[in-house]
Amino acid sequence: MWKRFRTNIGAMVGVVLLIAVILIAIFAPLIFANTPWQMVQRPFLAPFAMESLPLGTDTLGRDVAAQLAYGARVSLLVGLVSTLVALLIGVPLGALAGFYGGYVDEGAMRFTEFFQTIPNFALAIVLVAIFEPTLASITLAIAIVSWPPVARLVRAEVMSVRKREFVDAATLAGLSKPRILVRQVLPNTVSPIIVMASLMVATAILLESSLSFLGLGDPNAMSWGYMIGAARTVIRSAWWLSFFPGIAIVITVLALNLIGEGLNDALNPHLSRKGKA
């Protein structure tokens, strides 16, 4: 499996890009002497004009490069944690629905369908607006709008796995139903969940940046979406203020999508061959 992943050029490009973003996020305070909130130069300093400020300054004279580095922290953190929370909601719900069937399945799927019908970005806006924008409320709102596909996927996987022979064997061996679900069935559904999770982190990063673009970011955290939102009105005079954060988002999301596709090809070689035939 790892061999297949390693020979996938796109996936390796994704890994390299993502590692670079992670390193920048971790070592931001060491690389940049300035905090992202500190005024260091005159406002609207163009990029490449000063060696110490390679990407120029923003409307308040703050270091754009430092802001980008600190923004990576928020994006990665919110992306990762909200995906984990979404998995915590979606996996148990989907597993129970798929394993027990009947009324449990019916109820769980109606609930999931309801959340899939609601326009998810609009719901995220409403949640964050009502519960005040903080990193916690943003993360939770993104998790609440992103779990339905997980529940559906896990349900479908569990339904197909539970019909397999080793599950019958476990039943004959006298294992209890919950034990079979957790120990025998769920471990066999892990690979599609991993693929979906890596793509979900990418979507969550896009969602977080969209929320902070609309002014619904945590006021105490510098984020890429906030930078673009703040620079929106000065796009005519200072294009770089919106340009660089956007590139940062594209690179990070692209890296995660490439990794997700690489994982998909590596974990489900059967499917990928069909796709490329």
Binding site: I118, L214, V250, V253, G275
Partner: protein, 325 residues
Amino acid sequence: MTILIAILSRLAKAALTLLAIAVLNFCLLHAAPGDPAVVLAGEAGAADEQMIAQLRERFGLDQPLYVQLGKYIAGIVQLDLGYSFRQSAPVIDLIAERLPATLLLTLTAFVISLTCGIALGVAAAARVGKVSDSLLTTLALLFYATPLYWLALMAVLVFSVWLGWLPGFGYETVGSDFSGLARALDILKHLILPALTLGLFFMAVYMRMTRASMLEVSTADFVKTAKAKGLSGPVIRRRHILRNAILPVVTLAGLQAGQLVGGAVLTETVFAWPGIGRLMFESLAARDYNTILGVFLVSAAMVILFNIVTDIVYRIVDPRIGARA
């Protein structure tokens, strides 16, 4: 006949969903930190003491929660979405005034993304493995990773600010007294950039889906039969592969409708497009919760409408569904 029954059951389900969203809205209003009356009035001193007392009485905020819920739902059934103290107008009027602009934008973006996405997907699948296929796939991957609002801003920068080809702001030229065809053309010019940027992301999604689906169907036995009959490549692609490959794309398009409507908030914000998305954005800064929740409810209704339409399209494209039901 079966289609009629299907539509009726869909409508009943839609009504139930909207009711559930109304209950959710009610819960959110009460979960918001602070006094619900103040929350309803909008914060930052928009309401004085007297107004808040009136609100308390009108919504019966001193009564038990279930009575309040009943009043709230009864109001919504009568299309009363509350009053926006910020804009001094009933929320439903604000939304009704702006809904046509949003419908025009989302429908245009939907049609553009679906037709171009399917066409490009078919083209890429036909040239699988060649340079043009890799180019299209890479471009789709790139658009897939691009934030909608950023793409919109960059489009304004390039096509409006630098090149000056298209207006990057508003719905029509301010202060012009165009009428009839001239006005339609003016609106069309303003529509191009917002609709294209909103549609590009979804075009990428549909293109990837169409390509994968075309490739999957092309290995089916009936395609081999068609080849053995001596049919030409384009005929097989159009008549045999595409007709089957298009089904999952239509399903996906229905599921994506919610994203499209949500994306309109971002596009309208960037282009100052006077739709309900822009209304939501303006209400965010003013903490005008009545308007925010009203727009939320109406956008959910729009998504349900999109879903019903794709459902009908699906039944037309695939008659087997109707027969089974």
